[in-house]
């Protein structure tokens, strides 16, 4: 039953996404998709395992630098560049995760934040990242030697495919026996331990998965904008993804997509207000936390359930 409803929602989203470039600027849509994937990956950890990472920017931005570097300097093809970014993010996730999952709650968040700051300073000082300049003019080489992704429209559908692949991986993870264990850990970790689950291994695997997918999003974004810069690894980016997930609905499958859409649209169309965008974002955050804590999608689903029940 759930499967069918989610399936319908996903198909509706897909139809919308395929038709969207007719009305909206494709580069903007690609940006939304990259951030949506980033938020979905983050949501896998916070919404289904209950681990609030405050350092996800290091996977997103780190992968952006890696893919930018291998494509621009080493001349790798685009698809390998994105894969390299993903792989490096997964590796970084493995190391970070192994350290961070030993602690819970605020300590977990602080460990991830501290490690992310270390990655940030590495990126600021390392030679290959270009410091404040970032890596600029990353070429968009034909995908698989065939598809000309210099054309924004073609590339949009490629990014959509990448997003869907990532999204389906997350969906499958959540609805597998592995996902059931993750949810059990979220609800009551000691009980999961008492049932004989090796909780740390589950958490670590979820962390690596989340990091890898965040990396895919970051690597793709670097190719879209032909630019990998410090903005992507800054701690504000880690905060933004929390915001997107909360606004959309933590622990819902589609919530992060809606959240990313809302936040990116705001940033894009309110850019004229300059720094005031941050104030507006803060206000929205406060409103969401106070008034509809389940986020946009969470509230909608609750409303649907109430109606169906009543």
């Amino acid at each position: 039953m759930t499967w069918n409803r989610d399936m319908l929602a996903f198909l509706a989203f897909l139809a919308l996404a395929i038709a969207a470039p007719a009305a909206v600027y494709p580069v903007f849509l690609m940006k939304v998709l990259c951030f949506a994937l980033f938020a979905c990956a983050f949501n896998l950890l916070v919404g289904y395992v209950g681990l609030l990472s405050f350092g996800h920017a290091m996977f997103f931005g780190g992968a952006a630098y890696i893919s930018g570097h291998v494509v621009k300097v080493w001349g790798w093809p685009t698809e390998l560049g994105i894969l390299a970014g993903t792989a490096c993010a997964a590796l970084l996730g493995l190391v970070t995760g192994a350290i961070a999952i030993r602690r819970q709650g605020i300590y977990f968040a602080m460990v991830t934040l501290a490690l992310a700051q270390m990655v940030f300073f590495f990126c600021l000082q390392a030679n290959f990242t270009g410091g404040e300049d970032g890596i600029q003019a990353i070429p968009r080489r034909p995908l698989l030697g065939l598809l000309d992704i210099k054309n924004d429209l073609t590339f949009y559908y490629v990014v959509l495919a990448v997003f869907c692949a990532g999204f389906l991986v997350i969906y499958r993870t959540i609805h597998s026996p592995f996902g059931q264990v993750l949810k059990a850990i979220r609800e009551n970790e000691p009980r999961a331990v008492s049932l004989g689950y090796r909780v740390d291994q589950y958490k670590l695997l979820a962390f690596v998965l989340s990091a890898a997918l965040a990396g895919t999003a970051g690597a793709t974004k670097a190719i879209v904008f032909q630019l990998a810069s410090l903005t992507d690894v800054q701690w504000q980016m880690s905060g933004e993804v929390v915001l997107m997930t909360l606004v959309g609905g933590m622990g819902t499958v589609f919530g992060p997509i809606v959240g990313a859409g809302v936040i990116i649209t705001m940033q894009n169309y309110l850019a004229g207000f300059g720094e005031w965008v941050l104030v507006i974002q803060g206000l929205i955050f406060v409103v969401v936390v106070l008034a509809f804590r389940r986020g946009v999608v969470g509230e909608l689903m609750a409303w649907w359930r109430r109606r169906a029940g009543g």
Binding site: Y25, V27, G131, G134, A271, G272, G274
Partner: protein, 402 residues
């Protein structure tokens, strides 16, 4: 016979509609991209937008049948925000030319996108000499100043007057690095030495530990390779540490009149620096400032504002001469072919590498007693003739020069 008549009349109609029809979508659209809210907002910001509009008005665009529009945006000094805006401007909003763009990292990103989309990029706010060096592009004209010209002007003068040992306090991003590199080269070439350097995060607020290092180095001159709020804060804090009172002098490699205004003459007096334009140099400049100030909260124009005015004026001349704004590279080629002449920078040329060449000036900040009132801040120390003011064409490593 009838067909020939028809063809002829059609040709005549086309010729009549010529001037306007060939502008892409009938409008020349100018996008002013700069910092509207952050640390460079005063020295670029709305002042640049005003200057662009003023240039259009003075050019008499409407009377010449040219329809020109101005749009503007805030890039928040972030290259990804800037490149996002510029892509959207070129692809969706049909912007033909991007102007100003302070912050070198953003300017380098815009430079690359502009080349890819074959539009025009007129740089006034950004400083990095790479824009006409290894990153040079057939679609870019760099107008007001660059790191090489600043370093050359100031370092030459300071070393000549005995300031032969330097310590650099550098903003840790492309602009700071370039400024430091170029200044160091001049200092070394003149027989001076560099005792050390330290890089501070951008934008920074607390410079105390860096300034203490500078003080401890015993260098005669502390070179500030930063800009805007960073420069203001470091000069203020240097005053608090008694650095100038202790006999070391400060060479600010990039200083704008809005910075001097913020510092006050008491703190800023005696600073030596290079600029390409000052409002009180001649009557034309004074007239421009007189119109500028009431429209901009009483602030007087910086050289960046003047550069925006002059660059837009020259661009409009080139577009009028070509009767088309469609091909960015062709417009820039025309800009290079035409000698420049405007009321703020006088006569000049645009070089093959995109560098606009004009005189630079070495200024010193007046003592409070010498100033006749607000905004009367500079004394002219020397004029650096155009031929010596900028990096020689062959040294830039620009691929357009051979």
């Amino acid at each position: 016979m009838r067909t020939r008549m028809m063809l002829l009349s059609a040709a005549a109609m086309l010729a009549a509609g010529g001037a306007q029809a060939q502008m892409s979508d009938g409008v020349v659209k100018i996008g002013v991209l700069n910092d509207q809210s952050g640390l460079y907002a005063d020295l670029t910001g709305q002042g640049s937008v005003w200057s662009a509009r003023k240039a259009i008005e003075d050019f008499g665009a409407a009377a010449k049948g040219l329809k020109v529009e101005v749009v503007f945006a805030d890039h928040q000094n972030k290259p990804d925000v800037g490149s996002n805006v510029v892509r959207q401007w070129y692809d969706v909003d049909k912007v033909d030319v991007v102007v100003d763009v302070p912050t070198s990292s953003v300017a380098l990103a815009v430079n690359q996108i502009t080349k890819e989309k074959n539009k025009v990029f007129l740089v006034s706010g950004a400083a990095t000499a790479d824009l006409t060096g290894k990153a040079c592009s057939p679609n870019t004209v760099h107008w007001t100043y660059d790191t090489w010209a600043l370093a050359n002007g100031t370092a030459n003068a300071v070393v000549k007057t005995g300031g032969d040992s330097w310590f650099f306090l550098t903003a840790d991003y492309a602009f700071g690095h370039a400024l430091e590199r170029d200044t160091e080269a001049v200092v070394l070439a003149r027989g001076g030495k560099v005792l050390g350097k330290v890089r501070h995060p951008f934008p920074g607020t607390d410079f105390s530990s860096f300034l203490l290092q500078a003080q401890g180095s015993k260098a005669k001159v502390i070179g500030l390779a930063n800009a805007g709020g960073d420069t203001i804060n470091s000069i203020k804090q240097a005053g608090e540490f008694g650095i100038t009172a202790g006999g070391q002098s400060i060479a600010s490699l990039l200083l704008f009149i809005t910075d001097v205004h913020a510092l006050g003459l008491k703190t800023a007096q005696g600073l030596v620096f290079t600029e390409s334009w000052y409002w009180d140099l001649n009557d034309a400049n004074r007239a421009f400032a007189k119109e500028f100030a009431p429209a901009n909260k009483g602030n007087h124009p910086t050289m960046i504002h003047a550069g925006v005015y002059a660059a837009v004026t020259h661009y409009l001349k080139a577009v009028t001469a070509l009767k088309s704004d469609a091909d960015g590279a062709a417009v820039v080629k025309q800009m290079k072919a035409l000698p420049t002449e405007d009321k703020l920078f006088g006569k000049g040329t645009v070089r093959a590498d995109g560098r606009k060449v004009h005189d630079m000036y070495l200024f010193e900040v007046k003592k409070p007693a010498e100033s006749k009132g607000p905004w009367d801040y500079y004394k002219l120390r020397a004029t650096i003739p155009a031929a010596e003011a900028f990096r020689p064409l062959k040294d830039g490593g620009c691929s357009l020069v051979n």
